[in-house]
Symmetry: C2
Subunit: 350 residues, 2 copies
């Protein structure tokens, strides 16, 4: 059983069950799946009570670990977050955040509208000391492996909670990314670097150069200096720190490259018998590639910088992806992610 | 024979023959190669006279089209551009730029230190009306084809002449990129877009939003709005406009992805007989991939915004790549690239 940090009770995760591309089904199935496993997590499914009860009735699950909390409405993917939250305070993402703020749950998970999740969390939770701006972090596949477990994913942040970032913001991102990689990827001393246009400390914008100087002297951080675009797919470091605008472009570009590679393989398959034979012989390797290109569906992206654990599951999450996101949230609570970030920020704020 | 714009005489290209990774050999061989072709270009090889004469003596070439201009020194790849140019005014890149400024040549090509080329050109040439900052543009391979010729490359700028860019800078980049794609890729109406974190006109930094508004109303430009990271490898548009810091990261990342794909294929080849068979059957397709991953060696990157044509050839350029860069420079002179940019900037500066 997963333990709730210091208290010893099971971790409780509030799941915004509405608003993902798959509707409430992925959340319900994912939570049901998890309830029957060896190490379950207490899940509060937040959404339309009648719909949730109906969907749940069709699942095999252990009712000890599942509870429904009613929310009459939800934010759609295409809605403007601030307008939606202001106009409809009963939306599921806000209700789920409130449950966490009230201490009825320890962490928040949602596959819905990203902006609405960030806004709801920012309104309900407090920023950690020294953190001026939150960051969304995302794992992505790399050529090199990471940490003792040989994890094929590196972490990048911010990937879209901000646009530009000051030196202070970048320092906070570095500390938060390091804590997350330590706890979730179980990488004892993750290498952290700033994304720049050259490896020398003098390279990059004024914010990057200033952040470099602070990070180079920060105790408890395995700072590897600057990395360049080349290092992103290589995976030279474990955590890459950048402003949200750039992180967003880079991450979407990686998605685009994956899709193009899959397209080209499909195209080759259709074009020529010899190619078809060749691809069949490579199928085991290509399956591996496939797994890598589907990476966005695994786990979820943490929103870092608040005093509560928040995980954004991908909009296209299926049941397994939702289960994984809930497990990641529970693990982050269990191993005290927010406490680790607090500790990491100590030398910065002092 | 290539004609020199309005004057009717052959185009003359000053080539900084030193400072590429291959030393002067690539430049000499490339120029020699071109001198024996059907449509030669007048080339001034700038560098150490004795070394150049020695290297040239070993080539087959037509002396009508080749001339050596002595420069006693050159800027190394690892040198700081400003320091080098200030301390040693006899360096080849500066001498070559002077030949162009003096009207003895029409265009400048170099495979040497990028910063030194940008600085030498900026000191010797004038910025075109309305252009506050120059941009380096680079082609890169995409899934979709471009223009009437089905070109597999799209253009991106700036990729490193600047760090950040104002709205005015981005507008200038869009006009310059469009002119270059029209002239060099022979794409009659290239689609130009701003790189942002969403397709809506409201998305992106303040500079991007402001540039979007100007570009949407600019006559003579086929403006396609904003594109996202996903669109970069897809090649949804023909010209992508962004600030230099981001362009640098994106371009190096594309290089990195290409290298990783080649590595993975090599690794698969070495690992398993079945994979080896499969890859052999795919070899024709993989050769195509190889060509695509070597794209940086073809042509060269134009430095846009000055009143003369400047082409930066890749540091690793071989003879064929240098020949191509010289031909691109001659074509840009021939079709009046600077005049086209001037015309495109007309509605902006008015």
């Amino acid at each position: 059983m997963t333990q709730g940090g210091s208290s010893g009770r099971p971790v409780r995760v509030a799941v915004d069950a509405m608003g993902g591309d798959e509707g409430l089904l992925a959340a319900v199935e994912g939570a049901a799946l998890l309830s029957t496993e060896e190490r379950p997590v207490q899940v509060l499914l937040v959404g339309d009570e009648a719909q949730l009860a109906l969907a749940l009735a069709r699942q095999r699950y252990d009712p000890t670990w599942l509870q429904i909390v009613h929310a009459p409405d939800f934010v759609r993917q295409e809605e403007k977050p601030a307008e939606a939250l202001d106009a409809r305070p009963g939306v599921s993402v806000l209700r789920a955040a409130q449950l966490v703020a009230e201490g009825r749950a320890d962490a928040l998970v949602s596959a819905g509208n990203t902006g609405a999740l960030v806004l709801a969390a920012s309104r309900q939770f407090q920023r950690l000391p020294g953190i001026r701006r939150c960051a969304l972090a995302s794992v992505y596949p790399t050529e090199q492996r990471h940490g003792e477990r040989g994890d094929p994913f590196a972490l990048m942040l911010d990937v879209g909670a901000t646009l530009t970032a000051s030196a202070e913001d970048l320092v906070g991102f570095a500390v938060m990314g390091s804590a997350y990689a330590r706890i979730i990827s179980e990488n004892a001393s993750p290498k952290v670097a700033l994304l720049s246009n050259g490896s020398e400390p003098s390279k990059g914008t004024a914010a990057i150069v200033a952040a470099h100087e602070v990070l180079a002297g920060l105790p408890g951080l395995n700072f590897a200096g600057n990395v360049e675009g080349l290092d992103i797919p290589r995976g030279t470091v474990d955590v890459i720190v950048t402003e949200g605008f750039l992180g967003n472009v880079v991450l979407k570009m990686l998605e685009g490259v994956s899709e193009v590679v899959v397209d080209l393989a499909k195209d080759a398959y259709a074009r020529k018998f010899l190619y078809r034979m060749g691809l069949t012989m490579l199928s085991q390797g290509l399956r591996q590639l496939r797994t890598m290109t589907d990476w966005k569906q695994y786990g979820g992206a943490p929103l870092l910088g608040l005093d509560r654990v928040v995980i954004k599951a991908h909009g296209r999450s299926n049941a397994r992806a939702m289960r994984n996101a809930i497990k990641v949230a529970a693990k982050a609570v269990d191993r005290d992610l927010t406490g680790q970030i607090r500790a990491g920020m100590g030398p910065v704020t002092r």
